[in-house]
């Protein structure tokens, strides 16, 4: 078959990107991995974990000027059952950490985490008894965003980086992996049923 982008002297250069049914018919050849990853990465529904001022920038990223829906992530889900990526936007206090960890546990696999801003990444300027020094102490973080707070463009960049990461995942090999109780973070925290019960009772 002829390539759709032939350059010929004296003619108009036409370039076709992506799937063109007139050329390729109604059949797409691809790998299952890439197809599934393509579905996944273009509809990463965020769990907006807005805890401080970063949440304002998160809202700006969702509004018309920056428009996160260009990347398929406009569906902010306030239910962890329906979301794919938790955007931790803001200062995580120890008191909130248990709730955050519990919401992360409730999210269905596959799930990803973006630590947005200095506070979520490292504790930021809050070197204090009350602030968790980086959300990666309790959940596995995929992308860190620098800034205090980061611009919406930085969040969109993080989202694109996460999409790249998602598109590289060999998911057919890991689909049946038993995730089981895992330990997360630098401290290897395992949240037990007891601590979740305690969070629930407060």
């Amino acid at each position: 078959m002829e390539s759709p982008s032939l350059v010929q002297a004296g003619t108009v250069v036409t370039t076709e990107f992506g799937y063109n049914s007139k050329i390729e018919g109604e059949v797409v050849h691809t790998q299952l991995d890439s197809a599934l990853n393509w579905f996944r990465k273009n509809s990463l529904w965020p769990m907006p974990m807005g805890l401080a001022c970063c949440a304002i920038e998160l809202m700006a990223a969702g509004a018309s000027r920056f428009d996160i829906s260009r990347f398929g992530s406009e569906v902010m889900r306030f239910s962890p059952r329906q979301s794919d990526v938790m955007i931790v936007a803001g200062t995580v206090t120890y008191k909130m950490a248990l709730a955050l960890r519990r919401i992360y546990e409730q999210m269905a696999e596959p799930k990803w985490v973006i630590a947005m801003g200095a506070c979520a990444s490292t504790g930021g300027m809050y070197r204090s008894y009350s602030v968790l020094q980086g959300v990666d102490n309790i959940v596995p973080v995929d992308v860190y965003v620098a800034g205090c707070p980061p611009r919406p463009e930085a969040l969109l960049d993080a989202l694109i980086k996460l999409q790249e990461k998602v598109s590289r995942e060999p998911i057919t090999r890991t689909l049946k992996r038993d995730s089981g109780p895992e330990k997360y973070g630098r401290l290897g925290i395992e949240v037990t049923a007891q601590s979740i019960e305690e969070t629930r009772s407060h």
């Binding site: 120890y94 008894y129 602030v131 601590s195």
Partner: protein, 193 residues
């Protein structure tokens, strides 16, 4: 319209020896209640007879190293006569308990919970004396002078991930009396143990 000083004198006439002479400083009147056990009684009288119908704030001071260690401060305000009054009472560490005023002003409920949480002063008769800012089960009271800013690692299993915050690189503390700005404003300071 009464002045804050007149109202404070009226309050002192009612309770005589219980209250010290009102102190006025820049238009602010402070009354010291000598017996912390009777603070609720004084507050109820101030509200019901003198028209102090609003408790603006309830806070506490840690006089670390002095005795008595705690001072509880009540900021009163009357909407009708627009006068402020500050009541102070002191309580020692071994007792560490003051009668609640949440029966006088309901707003004192959360204020007293905050004081209990941050300073560890208990309020006798409080309807719901739980922590309000820190999580339930946290063993320390962080606003005390002998509590390091970085925090302490807690030994409770369910909150085992709390540990002292790293203080290198911040916060930007100052040291009084340093020779130059490098000594006065160090990049970091190790918390006093």
């Amino acid at each position: 319209m009464p002045t804050p000083l007149e109202l404070a004198r009226q309050l002192r006439e009612t309770f005589s020896d219980l209250l010290a002479e009102p102190l006025e400083f820049r238009g602010e009147v402070t009354l010291v209640v000598r017996d912390p056990e009777r603070i609720a009684e004084v507050c109820r009288h101030a509200k019901e007879t003198l028209g102090y119908d609003l408790l603006l704030d309830l806070s506490s001071v840690d006089n670390y190293g002095d005795e008595p260690r705690w001072t509880v401060v009540y900021e009163l305000y009357g909407l009708a006569h627009a006068c402020h009054l500050r009541l102070k009472t002191s309580v020692g560490e071994e007792k560490g308990s003051v009668p609640t005023v949440s029966t006088v002003w309901r707003t004192a409920d959360w204020h007293e919970r905050e004081v209990y949480d941050m300073m560890g002063i208990r309020f006798a008769g409080h309807p719901d004396l739980r922590r309000i800012l820190m999580w339930e089960g946290y063993p320390y009271h962080p606003l005390r002078k002998d509590f390091p800013l970085a925090g302490k690692p807690t030994d409770l299993p369910e909150v085992a991930f709390t540990r002292a915050a790293p203080l290198d690189g911040g916060p930007f503390v100052t040291v009084a009396g340093g020779a130059d700005s490098i000594a006065r404003e160090p990049r970091s300071r190790t918390p006093e143990d």
